[in-house]
C-alpha cells in the first residue's frame, strides 16, 4: 500500500514504471485525432443530447395534465 511504503520504495516503483513506459509504442496525433473525429461524427447524429429528442419521445418529459379514473 502506498501509505506503508518508504520514499525510497515509492521512487523505485516510479523508476521501474518509467523504464517500461519509455519503450511504449506510440502513434502520431495527426493520425489519431482524425480517427477520434470520425468516430464522433459518425455517432453524433444519433446522440440525443446533441441533436435533441422530440418532446413526445422524451421519457423525461414533463408529467402534466389530469388523469380521471
Amino acid at each position: 500500500m502506498a501509505r506503508d511504503m518508504s520514499d525510497k520504495e515509492i521512487l523505485k516503483m516510479e523508476l521501474d514504471q518509467l523504464k517500461v513506459e519509455v519503450n511504449t509504442p506510440r502513434i502520431a496525433v495527426k493520425t489519431t485525432a482524425p480517427e477520434i473525429i470520425a468516430f464522433v461524427e459518425g455517432l453524433s447524429a444519433e446522440d440525443p443530447l446533441v441533436k435533441g429528442v422530440p418532446e413526445d419521445k422524451n421519457p423525461f418529459k414533463e408529467k402534466g395534465g389530469c388523469i380521471i379514473t
Binding site: L18, I36, S44, L49, V50, F60
Partner: protein
C-alpha cells in the same frame, strides 16, 4: 514548575546485532522493532543497489521523465482542435432540469445509472443508499450503511444488485429484491477489504467481479461470490480517487486517477500499469473513458479537464477557462463523445465541445458543489448529484414556440 523535557531512551540488547546499546524504538509495518541506531541505518540501505541513495534515484527518475516527454513530443505534430476546425460548431444549447430527486438527508456523493436507463442508485454522507426510478421520481429501495461518507456506489449490469462503500474501507454488495418489505441489509455481502476508505467501485461486464479503488493507493479486482482478491494494482503514490473500465465488451483495461496527479492505465489480467500520464497540477478527482475506448478524460482540482489519447500516449486537449477557478469533481461524455459534462465545486456544470475545446453551455441549479455527473446509458439525459442533498436529471430542451405553448396548456389543465 517543570519545563524541562526528557527523552526516555531504552537501553538494552539490539534485536539485530545483540549488542547492549541505546535503542531506537521504531515501528515497521505496525510491528515495534528495537534496533540500535547503527542497525537502523544499515536496514534503511537494504533494498538499494550499491551506491543508490534517494538522490540518485530521484535524479534517474527525472532524467527518464525528460526522455519520456521528448519521445511523446516527437509525435505531437498537430492539436486536436486544429484538426477539428472544419467541423460544424454545435448549435445553441438549452438543457433543462426535468426531475429533481429529493430525499437524501445529507450531501449526495455518488450515483450510477442502471442499464435499464431509468433506475438510479445514489449514496450520501449520512450513510444512506437509495435506488430511484428517474421517470417517476419514486424511491424503490433504501439501505442504511453502517458507516458515513458512502463515497462509492455502482449498479450491477443485471440491475439486480448494487455495490457501495466508503469510510468503512469495504465494498458491500446488496442484492435488490422485489419484495418491498424485505430488509436489504440482511442480505449484504462484504466483498472488498482495503486499509483505507473506498473511493470508487465498478462492476466489470458481469455481476461476478468488482473493481475498487481506495485511499490506500491501490486498486483491486474482487470476486463477488467468494470475496476473494483476484488482482491488485500498485503504482499510485497517494490516494486513488476514481476509476473507469474500458467500454468494449472484450476490454480488459481500466484507468485510475488519484491525489498523486497521475492517471494510470492498467491491464486487468496482469496487474501491470501500461501507461501513465502526469500533466495535471493537482488531484485528479474523476476519470472517464471515451466511448471509443481510445482516450479518456479527467477532471481535477486544478480547475481543468483534460483529454488523453491512449494511442498517441499524450494529453491532446485541455478544457479550461480563466474564469473557472474551482475544481472539477466529476466528468462524463455524451453518447457520441462530442460533449463532455463536467461538474464543478462552484455549483455549476460546464458542457464542453470535446473536439473544439470550447465551452458550449453552463448549467446552474444546484445550491452546493456538484459531486457527481453521469450520462444515462442511452444518452437521453444526464443526472447530477450535489452537496445540496438533491439529484437532478436534465435533458435537452427543444423549444420551438409551438411545443412550448402546448406544454403550458397541458400543465394548467
Amino acid at each position: 514548575m517543570c519545563d524541562q523535557t526528557f527523552l526516555a531512551i531504552t537501553f538494552g540488547p539490539c534485536d539485530n546485532c545483540s549488542q547492549n546499546k541505546p535503542l531506537m524504538n521504531i515501528y515497521l509495518k505496525n510491528e515495534p522493532i528495537n534496533y540500535c541506531s547503527l542497525c537502523v541505518e544499515l536496514m534503511a540501505c537494504q533494498g538499494l543497489a550499491k551506491g543508490e541513495t534517494t538522490n540518485t534515484l530521484k535524479a534517474e527518475s527525472e532524467s527518464l521523465k525528460a526522455k519520456l516527454e521528448e519521445e511523446r513530443a516527437k509525435l505531437h505534430d498537430v492539436e486536436l482542435h486544429q484538426v477539428a476546425e472544419k467541423i460544424d460548431a454545435l448549435g445553441q444549447f438549452v438543457m433543462k432540469t426535468r426531475r429533481t430527486l429529493k430525499g437524501h438527508g445529507n450531501k449526495v456523493l455518488c450515483m450510477d445509472w442502471c442499464r435499464d436507463k431509468r433506475r438510479i442508485v445514489s449514496s450520501s454522507q449520512d450513510g444512506k443508499v437509495i435506488v430511484w426510478d428517474a421517470y417517476t421520481t419514486n424511491k424503490e429501495h433504501a439501505v442504511t450503511m453502517p458507516c458515513t461518507w458512502v463515497m462509492a456506489c455502482a449498479y450491477a449490469p443485471s440491475g439486480c444488485a448494487v455495490a457501495c462503500g466508503g469510510l468503512d474501507n469495504k465494498c458491500s454488495v446488496y442484492p435488490l429484491s422485489l419484495d418491498k418489505n424485505e430488509n436489504l441489509a440482511a442480505k449484504k455481502k462484504s466483498v472488498a477489504m482495503h486499509t483505507n476508505y473506498l473511493s470508487s467501485c465498478s462492476f466489470t461486464n458481469s455481476d461476478m467481479q468488482i473493481l475498487t479503488s481506495s485511499g490506500d493507493g491501490t486498486c483491486a479486482l474482487w470476486d463477488v461470490e467468494s470475496g476473494q482478491l483476484l488482482q491488485s494494482f500498485h503504482g499510485h503514490s497517494a490516494d486513488v480517487l476514481s476509476l473507469d473500465l474500458a467500454p468494449s465488451e472484450t476490454g480488459n483495461t481500466f484507468v485510475s486517477g488519484g491525489c498523486d496527479k497521475k492517471a494510470n492505465v492498467w491491464d486487468m489480467r496482469s496487474g501491470q500499469n501500461v501507461q501513465s500520464f502526469e500533466t495535471h497540477e493537482s488531484d485528479i478527482n474523476n476519470v472517464k473513458y471515451y466511448p471509443s475506448g481510445d482516450a479518456f478524460a479527467t477532471g481535477s482540482d486544478d480547475a481543468t479537464c483534460r483529454l488523453y489519447d491512449l494511442r498517441a500516449d499524450r494529453e491532446v486537449a485541455i478544457y479550461s477557462k480563466d474564469s473557472i477557478i474551482f475544481g472539477a469533481s466529476s466528468v462524463d461524455f455524451s453518447l457520441s463523445g462530442r460533449l463532455l459534462f463536467a461538474g464543478y465545486n462552484d455549483y455549476t456544470i460546464n458542457v464542453w465541445d470535446v473536439l473544439k475545446g470550447t465551452r458550449v453551455a453552463i448549467l446552474f441549479g444546484h445550491e452546493n458543489r456538484v459531486s457527481t455527473v453521469r450520462v444515462s446509458p442511452d444518452g437521453t439525459a444526464f443526472c447530477s448529484g450535489s452537496w445540496d442533498n438533491t439529484l437532478r436529471v436534465s435533458a435537452y430542451l427543444r423549444s420551438s414556440g409551438e411545443s412550448e405553448l402546448r406544454n403550458i396548456l397541458y400543465n394548467t389543465v
